[in-house]
C-alpha cells in the first residue's frame, strides 16, 4: 500500500485520527454485519422464546423457497432492464451533446438535475403519472387500447418500476459518457473521416471500443444501484406487488425481517446480498486497476 516517503513520527496521533471513523465503522457496520452472519445460523421458535442453532438450514430453506427464487428472478430482470434502458438512452444523449456546438452546457444542465431527485420521489412521480384512475399516461395508454393497471398486472408493475428507476439514473450515465466522449482525441475521428469512414462506421470502429471501459464501469455501477438504491422506488410505487412481481431481493430482506419477523431467514438473505455486493465491488476494482482492455 502506498504512503509518503517521509512520514511523521508520532505514537498516539494516528490512532486518534482514525478513531472516529473506526468507531462508526465498528459499531454500525462491522458489528451488525457480524450479527447478520451469526443470526443466519439461528432459528427462533414461533413465540421468540427459544433460539436454536440450525447450521445452514436457513440457507437451504432459502434455496428451496420458490418465493425467494422468484425474487431473485425479478431482481435480475429489473436490474438488467433498468441498466440497459438508462445506459442506452444516456449514450444516445451523450453522443448528441458531444456533437452540438451551440449550447452543450445548457443541455447538460437541463439533463443532469434528476440525479438530485430522491429515488422515493422519482417513484412517487411515476406512480402519479401511471395512476390507473387519474394518471395522464395510463389515460393515454387507455386511449391507445391498453388497459394499464399496475396494481393488478405484473408486467405493468415491472414496467413502472423500471421506468422510474431508469429515469433517475440517466443523468449519471450521461455525465460519464460525455466525459468519456470528450476524452477521445479529435485527431482519431478526423483521420477516420479523411479515410472515408462515415459517422456510423466511426461510431462502431472508434468511439464504441474507446468507450467500452466507461460502459463496463457504468454497467457495474448501475447494477449496484438497481439492486440496492431502488428500495425506495419499489416502496413508493408497488411495494413489491402485485403477487411478488416486483419484490426485489433488498425489498424482501426488509419485508421478511420487519414485517414478517423471520429474523433467521432475513439474516440469511442479508448474507447472500453481502456476498453479491462483495463480488460486484471486487469486479469493479479489479477492472479499474486494469483500466483498458481493448
Amino acid at each position: 500500500m502506498q504512503h509518503k516517503r517521509t512520514t511523521f513520527r508520532h505514537r498516539g496521533l494516528p490512532y486518534l485520527l482514525l478513531a472516529p471513523q473506526l468507531a462508526v465503522t465498528g459499531v454500525f457496520f462491522l458489528w451488525p454485519a457480524g450479527q447478520a452472519v451469526w443470526q443466519s445460523f439461528l432459528r427462533e421458535d414461533a413465540f421468540g422464546l427459544k433460539t436454536s442453532f440450525v447450521g445452514l438450514a436457513n440457507y437451504t430453506k432459502l434455496l428451496h423457497d420458490p418465493q425467494y427464487l422468484g425474487s431473485l428472478h425479478v431482481t435480475v430482470i429489473f436490474s438488467l432492464a433498468t441498466a440497459a434502458l438508462s445506459i442506452v438512452s444516456a449514450l444516445v444523449l451523450a453522443l448528441a451533446a458531444d456533437r452540438v456546438l451551440r449550447g452543450p452546457r445548457v443541455y447538460t444542465a437541463l439533463l443532469v438535475w434528476p440525479y438530485a431527485v430522491a429515488p422515493a420521489i422519482a417513484g412517487v412521480l411515476w406512480w402519479f403519472l401511471f395512476n390507473p384512475t387519474i394518471g395522464i399516461l395510463s389515460y393515454a395508454l387507455r386511449a391507445l387500447g391498453h388497459d394499464w393497471n399496475h396494481l393488478l398486472d405484473k408486467t405493468d408493475a415491472m414496467v413502472l418500476v423500471i421506468l422510474a428507476a431508469a429515469w433517475k439514473q440517466v443523468s449519471y450515465n450521461f455525465l460519464f459518457f460525455l466525459a468519456g466522449l470528450q476524452a477521445i482525441p479529435a485527431s482519431l475521428r478526423e483521420a477516420a473521416a479523411i479515410d472515408g469512414a462515415g459517422p456510423v462506421k466511426r461510431f462502431f470502429t472508434i468511439v464504441a471500443p474507446l468507450l467500452s471501459p466507461t460502459t463496463f464501469f457504468l454497467l457495474v455501477v448501475n447494477v449496484v444501484y438497481t439492486m440496492f438504491d431502488t428500495f425506495a422506488v419499489i416502496d413508493a410505487t408497488t411495494e413489491g406487488g402485485p403477487a411478488q412481481a416486483t419484490n426485489i431481493l433488498v425489498y424482501k430482506v426488509y419485508r421478511d425481517g420487519f414485517i414478517g419477523l423471520d429474523l433467521g431467514g432475513s439474516a440469511a438473505q442479508s448474507v447472500v446480498l453481502m456476498g453479491i455486493v462483495i463480488v460486484l465491488t471486487v469486479v469493479q476494482f479489479r477492472f479499474i486497476e486494469r483500466k483498458v482492455t481493448y
Binding site: 512520514t7 459499531v27 454485519a33 451533446a97 440525479y115 438530485a116 422515493a120 402519479f128 395522464i136 442479508s270
Partner: protein, 282 residues
C-alpha cells in the same frame, strides 16, 4: 465536430430536446398537479396546464394540517432533512479527511488493518444489514433523534479514498519544507492540507449533501415520532391513504419541495457537482 452535416446537427438537437422534455415531463405534471385544488382530481384525468391554487397549496402544506397522515407541517420535515443532510455531509468529510491523513502520512502498526476495515464499508450498504443495524441503534437509545438519523450513515470509504488520492498527489517536498520550518503534524494538516483540499472538500460536500437529503429507508425505520421525519420519508406517509383518494395536490407540492433543494445545489454548483461525482468514483 469532424465534418459538416446539417442533417446530423439537426438530429442531435432534436434528440437532446426530446431528452430534456422526457426528463422534465414527470416534474412538470407534478408541478401542475400542485397548483390545482384537490377537487379537480375527482373528475378523471390530471389537468395539463397550471391552475391558480398553487400558492394556497404550498402555504397549507408548509404550515401543516392538510393531511391526516402527516401530523407535522412540511416546514418541520424540511428542517429535519436539512439537519440530517448537513450532519451526514460534514460528518463524513470530517472523519474521512482525518483518517486519510493518518493512513497517508503516518506509519504505524495495524495501519493495513485500519485501511481494510474502512474499505469493507463499501461492501456493506445499509440496505443489506437493516435488521441488525436497527437493533444496534435501538439499543443505544438513538431512535427518534438527529444522532440516530445521521451518525450510523457517516462512515464512508469513498470519501476516505478520495482524500487519500488527493494527498498522494501532494509533493513530499511540501511536507519536508513544513517540517524544516518547525511545523508539527497538526499544524501541517491545518495550514497546508486543508487549504489545498478546499475544492475537493466542496465537490464532495455537494455529492454527500444530496446523498444525505435523499435517504429514505433509514429515516422511515428509526423515526416513529413524526416530528423527526424527513421530507423524503414523509411523502410516502401522505400517499398511503386507506379510504378515499389521496390529496394529490398536497402530495405533489411536497414532492416539489423535497426535490427543490438538492436540484438547486446541482444546478447552481454544476462544476463542483460533476467534479465530485467523477472523482468519488475513481
Amino acid at each position: 465536430m469532424v465534418e459538416n452535416r446539417r442533417f446530423l446537427d439537426i438530429l442531435a438537437h432534436a434528440v437532446l430536446l426530446l431528452g430534456v422534455l422526457a426528463v422534465a415531463f414527470p416534474v412538470y405534471v407534478a408541478f401542475v398537479a400542485s397548483t390545482h385544488p384537490s377537487s379537480d382530481f375527482v373528475s378523471g384525468v390530471v389537468p395539463l396546464l397550471p391552475g391558480s391554487e398553487g400558492l394556497a397549496t404550498y402555504r397549507e402544506v408548509l404550515a401543516g394540517g392538510g393531511s391526516t397522515q402527516m401530523s407535522v407541517p412540511i416546514a418541520l420535515a424540511l428542517k429535519n432533512s436539512l439537519i440530517m443532510a448537513l450532519a451526514i455531509a460534514l460528518g463524513k468529510i470530517a472523519i474521512s479527511i482525518l483518517s486519510a491523513y493518518a493512513i497517508v502520512w503516518f506509519r504505524f502498526p495495524l495501519r493495513q488493518l485500519a485501511f481494510w476495515a474502512i474499505f469493507i464499508t463499501l461492501m456493506l450498504p445499509v440496505e443489506v444489514r437493516i435488521v441488525p443495524t436497527f437493533k444496534v441503534v435501538a439499543d443505544l437509545g438513538l431512535l427518534n433523534s438527529y444522532a440516530g438519523l445521521s451518525v450510523p450513515l457517516i462512515a464512508s470509504a469513498t470519501a476516505t479514498f478520495l482524500f487519500r488520492q488527493v494527498f498522494l498527489t501532494i509533493p513530499d517536498e511540501l511536507m519536508e519544507a513544513a517540517r524544516i520550518d518547525g511545523a508539527g503534524p497538526i499544524r501541517f494538516f491545518r495550514d497546508v492540507l486543508v487549504p489545498l483540499s478546499q475544492t475537493n472538500i466542496a465537490a464532495l460536500f455537494v455529492i454527500l449533501f444530496i446523498y444525505g437529503w435523499n435517504q429514505y429507508l433509514w429515516p422511515i425505520l428509526i423515526t416513529t415520532d413524526d416530528s423527526f421525519t424527513t421530507v423524503v420519508a414523509g411523502i410516502k406517509r401522505m400517499a398511503d391513504v386507506t379510504d378515499g383518494e389521496p390529496r394529490w395536490n398536497d402530495i405533489m407540492a411536497t414532492a416539489m419541495l423535497a426535490m427543490a433543494p438538492p436540484a438547486l445545489v446541482v444546478i447552481v454548483m454544476q462544476r463542483l457537482f460533476v467534479k465530485g461525482l467523477v472523482e468519488t468514483e475513481k
